[in-house]
């Protein structure tokens, strides 16, 4: 039963304001006119909180990108806004030394932004963010989480809360769910077929903004488009399965035409009102509509090809665990014919995770093929993938069990437990098949799945698979904890928790139905769409906070050998 009465959101513009104030505060610590150097990947985030006129107001004269070259700035004061990376700091040292060498006196200030996701170094940043949300919108009524990073983040946050002053505020957010990316690598490795996810897969959305090239704009220019709910066209299709998007868009086009057509038969006065009140909006909508149609066409070209359909089909087979041999041959051919380096790698990983590792023979032969196709340096890629457990050789299940029981006899239970933990983390085995059964992740395939009226979250993968991450969230919220999910958490390597927060808000208030989901290690647009669907179905509103928006290419690119 769909509940339509989803609660409204707290005022999140506060966060923007806080960030901007903080930036201004930092800039003002170097009083007077100055030039600002900013690392290019911080440009978009900066755009979200402060525009050029804000910067100008605080005495920024010129803005430069960090380009690792000698500076041409003539200002007596330089301010650097960078990520804490050794390379960048060394460059700043070079700038300073160069000034010194020519006897030039300047003042310098470095503003470090938080470490970018990559290892546990960002855990504190995340804990800090949670603390900020807590102090602005908290207290929370309940916190759930799974995964070791979630637990560390939670603990760090709690420490902060205990030390801080606690004023009584009305709770604006109900519960919080922290989830580690390594709980579920399957979902981000799947091809995305929901509109926003597709846009990200194909055009790469950066900081809520996408750049459409000439093939989409059908002009010689590229256009940057902000993708958010203020774009009315996008808002209606972002969560839709791609097969529905064209229908929506053409309906929209017709509506727009009707709106334009109203002009016929208007008198002067009506026309005047029309022009001043509606025309601008219509034109804007028109512009966006044609962009989204262009984008959809471009997607169609790429994704309706035979190859892609086959790929999707193979992907679904992997998720369901059918026709594995055929899938392996498919992947092999995919590699042999060099269809796509990243796609092949993605399928390999998906195969490994869903099958709990590859048979030794396949493992060797597929890797050999891959190296032959794409070069020997991917030996390092495979080493990285193995370390993360994304592409591994099947361990004889017996070997582990035998070892466990042997060890178990030697030491007492508690230690044995620990050792078992160690073993399972050593192997980092995925138990996808068992999880899929227990959580019913793959809907029965004999039923027809109507993608226009989805009945569950599986619609984001054409009805083939309910994302594990979102299913966990659904189940835990439903059960108000992990009770009854013991089998599942064991398979997921544990570190689950459910604790009550400080809020004493009424259980049925609006705020209680606002759920903050914190993805540690990134989440995909498809997952966000799935959660939006879940929210509509169950009367929740999800607020998703993530260390990054990710997708299969971003995930795998970071692991390519000889990369960094």
């Amino acid at each position: 039963m769909a509940r339509r009465d989803t609660p409204g959101l707290p005022d999140f513009s506060l966060l923007k304001r806080l960030a901007r104030d903080q930036l201004v505060y930092l800039l003002e610590q170097l009083p007077g006119k100055k030039d600002l150097f900013i690392e290019s990947d911080l440009m978009s985030p900066l755009d979200r909180i402060a525009n050029m006129s804000t910067l100008k107001q605080h005495d920024i004269v010129k803005l430069y990108k960090v380009e690792y070259k000698a500076t041409v700035s003539l200002s007596d004061q330089l301010c650097f806004l960078i990520r804490p990376r050794i390379q960048t700091v060394k460059w700043i040292c070079d700038v300073v030394n160069a000034d010194k060498a020519v006897g030039r006196f300047r003042r310098y200030k470095i503003i470090f932004t938080p470490q970018r996701a990559g290892d546990q170094r960002w855990l504190r940043t995340v804990g800090g963010a949670l603390h900020l949300l807590h102090s602005v919108y908290g207290p929370f009524s309940k916190l759930y989480g799974i995964g070791s990073c979630s637990q560390m983040t939670y603990e760090w946050w709690r420490e902060q809360v205990e030390q801080g002053e606690q004023g009584a505020r009305p709770a604006e957010i109900g519960s919080v769910f922290l989830i580690d990316r390594d709980v579920d690598f399957v979902t981000p490795l799947c091809s995305q077929v929901v509109y926003e996810g597709l846009l990200d897969d194909i055009f790469r959305i950066k900081c809520g903004c996408v750049e459409f090239g000439p093939d989409v704009t059908s002009s010689d220019r590229s256009v940057k488009v902000m993708l958010n709910s203020q774009d009315k066209v996008f808002n209606e299709i972002r969560n839709e399965h791609f097969s529905n998007v064209f229908g929506f868009l053409s309906q929209k086009a017709r509506n727009l035409q009707t709106a334009y057509d109203k002009r016929q038969g208007m008198d002067i006065k009506q026309m005047k009102t029309f022009v001043s009140e509606e025309l601008k909006g219509l034109k804007q909508e028109h512009r966006l509509l044609s962009l989204h149609i262009g984008a959809s066409e471009s997607i169609m070209k790429k994704k309706t090809k035979q190859d892609f359909q086959e790929l999707l089909q193979r992907e679904h087979c992997l998720l369901e665990g059918f026709e594995i041999r055929e899938s392996i041959s498919f992947i092999e051919e995919h590699i042999n014919r060099q269809i796509s380096m990243m796609e092949s790698l993605r399928m390999l990983c998906l195969l490994s995770i869903t099958e709990n590792g590859l048979l030794p023979k396949d493992y060797r032969s597929l890797k050999t093929q891959y190296l032959q196709s794409y070069g020997f340096d991917h030996l390092l890629t495979f080493s990285n993938l193995r370390q993360l457990g994304l592409l591994v050789e099947q361990q004889g299940a017996e070997t582990l069990t035998v070892m466990e029981s042997k060890v178990g006899k030697l030491v007492n239970d508690k230690t044995a437990g620990k050792i078992t933990d160690a073993f399972s983390s050593l192997a980092r085995r995925s138990h996808f098949r068992a999880l899929s059964r227990k959580l019913n992740l793959v809907p029965k395939s004999d039923e027809e799945y109507d993608l226009r009226v989805p009945k569950d979250m599986a619609y984001i993968f054409s009805g083939a698979y309910v994302p594990l991450s979102c299913r966990l969230i659904e189940q835990v919220l439903e059960r108000d904890g992990w009770a009854g999910l013991e089998d599942v958490t064991r398979l997921l390597n544990g570190h689950e928790f459910a604790v009550t927060g400080g809020s004493r808000a009424e259980p049925n208030s609006d705020a209680q139905r606002l759920v903050l989901v914190l993805f540690l290690g990134g989440c995909t647009f498809s997952e966000i769409s799935a959660l939006r669907f879940l929210g509509r179905a169950k009367g929740y509103k999800f607020i998703v906070v993530t260390t990054a928006v990710t997708n299969s290419s971003r995930l795998l690119e970071a692991l390519l050998g000889n990369h960094a």
């Binding site: 560390m152 014919r337 093929q369 032959q372 960094a564």
Partner: protein, 832 residues
């Protein structure tokens, strides 16, 4: 209460009163006569250096510290050099300026804290005179040296010595001088004979006080007010001049009729003064000279010291202490005899009410008729704040309380806060505590500072009481007190580490804002490392423990705490520290036991120290990673030989790691590289570094079929791959004959549909058709469709009776293919 006015003395329109603050607890008899005395303002402590000129080692001068009420705090013999001046800093530290220019700083309890010098040159020339002064920048010191030069330090916490320019014509010290803070600048005002000079950073300028008669004589004494706004001058002819310190205006001129230089001269003002005055003190006389040229004279019976305050002057002698001040206007209004002020009437009304007299009603009625009841209550509350005697305070507050009963919507906040503040003030004025603060001073110094003062004096229980009573948030209140207490507690030498740790833990518990690491740092400063470690154990935030642990050289513990904290910056901090501190072997061993630290260090090495990375893997016998390292390194080499030798190292390490797959892959890569190099040399093929696939592609496109074939065999390239490759390459170059030959060389491992499709890709339908016959029956339909032969596709589909194939053909049919569509539909229908 007629007696309230008994101590009032009229001065012009206003009144001055002397309020007794304390009977002094000390017994110093003639002590004040021959001592160097410094009493801090705001009811601060008093320091006394008896007989400062004594210099023989056998009898040293005694330095004594008292509270303002005369309670002894500390006393010790002065063993250092001769002292020129004593003074107090704003944080209750005693500054002792010595003749040689060094300044020794002691805390309230006489413990030496630190010292600094007013300049090297002073050691030779000696300090003739020094002044300790307070400004918005903190506590400052000014000296004049034997070479007649002035040196200033405006803030002793941030010491910057400023040597002022020479004063032309000055010999020795000037007859009189003061330090002035004006326009954010600190200057010296000095007199030489009748002349007055202002000395600032850059120059010495002669100035002239307006209206000072040129025959007044030499200026022998001067003084500035608490706020530096007013100046008074005394000449050797007994002439007193007072005016603005910027010398823009004269306020009064008065002939004291005595040529003797007063021992002390101070301004006596208060905020909103009606009648500011200058107080002069000689051996036997205290003279108050008002702006109106009116005076009050008090006899001085005992050697006394005057202490300037923002709202009066304290007079301290060996037996008692008084506050001389202008009676605040509101108190005058209420207590002046026959006053009809609203407050006075209300006080009277209440007094009658206490006596159950009906007159109470009359008074009240009178107030109400004038509609001034609210004003009356306000006056009583305000006056109570200014009164020192609790009984007077009470009667005023009771009157106010009585009056406000008859008021509707009266805001009682001022009443309540005055009540509270008076309780606090009465408590700190107690002789045992000895802080004779007026309400005005209290408001000026703020509660925070008052608590600090109590902390300096170690009145912890009282401070906590006050914090709780005034409901100060724990952070600024109780926690701050506890923090101070604990820092002090750890210095108690007579208690064991265990006992102190326990006491601290019991008292401090988990009070918010009290940092155990801060307390531990104090313990470590006092040389109690073991105690510090014990205290650190109570610190819940492991991150906070780290810096101190490092300082105490508990590096291993620091590392594990840093790891525990989850703060990677902290881990890096410790790791860098360890790296510099330990030898390499120990350093690696330490990291080995801390996987998180090790992995962070590895990441650092990956970016910064590739060589170290190798050593790390070596030590751990991590052959796999070591091999990976060699592979990565091989890509950085420009010379093939070096690359190959690195790859050979990788092979060895992979073998040690029992990773035969990787070893073999690496060996093959080496083989490929050699092959590529050879062909590059021979044919200039530009192959080096390409993948096997791309190498073969390139070879085929260059027409080097034999060499491609060789790779295919040597590297056991799967047939399928090779066939695809060759197929694409031949089609691309449109070598159709070659292609046909190739297709016949053996049975195609990739089938023949691929041939059809690739030919079509290069738009050669004829060639494509050649291969259709070879396509397996299952792929026939696809093949026909690929070349666009719908008829044949339809035939095959119908022959196969395959619904999906029929559908596939149908989907390609257009309107012109009516007949075909019908046929297909029929076949489809027949099947059903």
């Amino acid at each position: 209460m007629a007696f309230v006015t008994a101590s009032w003395n009229p001065l012009g329109e206003a009144f001055y009163r002397k309020v007794e603050l304390y009977e002094m607890c000390w017994s110093i008899r003639d002590g004040l006569r021959d001592s160097l005395v410094a009493a801090a303002p705001y009811g601060g402590p008093i320091a006394l250096l008896r007989e400062p000129l004594r210099r023989s080692p056998s009898s040293r001068p005694q330095l004594e510290i008292y509270s303002a009420s005369g309670a002894a705090i500390a006393s010790f013999p002065w063993k250092s050099g001769p002292v020129v001046q004593l003074g107090w800093s704003i944080s209750d530290e005693l500054l002792c300026v010595q003749e040689d220019g060094s300044v020794l700083i002691y805390d309230l309890f006489g413990s030496f804290k630190r010292h600094f010098s007013m300049g090297q040159e002073v050691v030779q020339s000696q300090v003739l005179e020094a002044k300790v002064f307070h400004s918005p920048y903190g506590t400052g010191i000014a000296i004049v040296t034997g070479s007649s030069r002035f040196t200033l330090a405006t803030n002793i916490e941030d010491l910057k010595l400023r040597r002022l320019p020479e004063v032309p014509g000055l010999q020795g010290r000037p007859a009189s001088w003061v330090v002035l803070t004006q326009d954010r600048q600190t200057k010296v005002l000095l007199s030489i004979g009748p002349e007055l000079y202002i000395l600032d950073n850059t120059s010495c300028t002669a100035v002239c006080p307006p209206g000072l008669s040129p025959h007044a004589g030499s200026i022998v004494h001067m003084s500035v007010s608490f706020s530096y706004k007013y100046l008074s001058l005394f000449t050797d002819s007994g002439h007193l001049w007072a005016g603005l310190s910027n010398l823009q205006d004269k306020l009064l001129e008065f002939d004291t009729k005595t040529t003797e230089r007063p021992k002390q001269m101070l301004w006596c003002r208060r905020p909103k003064s009606q009648q500011p005055s200058v107080v002069l003190m000689w051996d036997r006389l205290l003279l108050v000279v008002g702006e109106c040229n009116d005076t009050i004279q008090f006899p001085v019976e005992d050697p006394s010291v005057l202490v300037g305050e923002m709202d009066g002057v304290r007079i301290i002698n060996s037996t008692n202490q008084e506050l001389l001040q202008e009676v605040p206007l509101v108190c005058q209004d209420i207590f002046k005899i026959a006053s009809m002020a609203p407050g006075a009437l209300l006080l009277e009304a209440h007094r009658e009410y206490e006596k159950s007299s009906q007159k109470a009603d009359e008074y009240l009625r009178e107030i109400k008729e004038q509609n001034v009841l609210e004003e009356a209550v306000r006056q009583c509350v305000e006056a109570a704040a200014h009164e020192y005697d609790p009984a007077t305070q009470k009667s005023l507050m009771r009157a106010a309380s009585f009056g406000k009963c008859f008021l509707t919507d009266f805001c009682s906040d001022p009443f309540v806060s005055t009540c509270r503040e008076l309780r606090v003030l009465n408590a700190v004025r107690e002789s045992g505590v000895g802080m004779p603060l007026t309400h005005t001073q209290f408001k000026q110094m703020t509660l925070q500072v008052l608590i600090d003062r109590l902390l300096f004096r170690q009145f912890y229980p009282l401070a906590i009481e006050i914090c709780r009573y005034l409901k100060i948030p724990d952070y600024q209140g109780v926690s701050r007190v506890l923090k101070h207490w604990a820092s002090c507690k750890v210095q108690q030498k007579d208690l064991s580490d265990e006992a102190i740790a326990r006491a601290v833990c019991v008292k401090v518990g988990e009070s918010p804002g009290v940092s155990y690491s801060h307390i531990a740092a104090k313990a470590y400063e006092c040389g109690r490392t073991e105690l510090a470690i014990k205290l650190l154990d109570f610190e819940p935030r492991s991150g906070e423990q780290v810096p101190l642990l490092l300082k105490m050289k508990r590096s291993h513990l620091a590392l594990s705490k840093a790891v525990e904290s989850g703060d990677t910056d902290l881990v890096y901090m410790v790791v860098t520290h360890l790296k510099n501190e330990m030898n390499r072997g120990d350093f690696f061993m330490t990291l080995r036991n801390q996987p998180v630290a090790l992995s962070l260090y590895r990441q650092f090495c990956k970016l910064q120290e590739q060589e170290t990375l190798k050593d790390l893997y070596n030590q751990d016998d991590n052959h796999q990673e070591l091999a990976n390292y060699y592979v990565t390194a091989s890509y950085r080499e420009k010379k093939l030989e070096s690359s190959l030798s690195l790859l050979q190292n990788a092979v060895d390490e992979y073998n040690k790691a029992k990773n035969d797959f990787a070893a073999k892959a690496t060996e093959e890569e080496m083989r490929l590289l050699r092959f590529q190099r050879k062909l590059d040399d021979e044919k200039g093929a530009g192959l080096l570094g390409l993948s096997l696939q791309v190498t073969m592609e390139t070879l085929l496109s260059l027409g080097l079929h034999k060499q491609a074939e060789q790779l295919y065999r040597d590297f056991k390239v799967p047939d399928k791959r090779y066939w695809w490759l060759k197929l694409k390459s031949l089609a691309e170059k449109e070598e159709w004959e070659e292609l046909e030959k190739f297709s016949k060389s053996k049975k195609s491992p990739i089938g023949y549909l691929a041939f059809v499709e690739v030919c079509m890709k290069y738009n050669n339908r004829n060639e494509a058709k050649k291969y259709i016959c070879k396509v397996t029956p299952e792929q026939k339909v696809k093949a026909h469709l690929a070349v666009g032969d719908l008829e044949s596709a339809a035939d095959a589909a119908i022959e196969h009776k395959s619904e999906s194939e029929i559908a596939a053909v149908l989907s390609r049919c257009s309107a012109s293919d009516r007949l075909l569509v019908d046929r297909l539909n029929r076949a489809s229908g027949a099947k059903k």
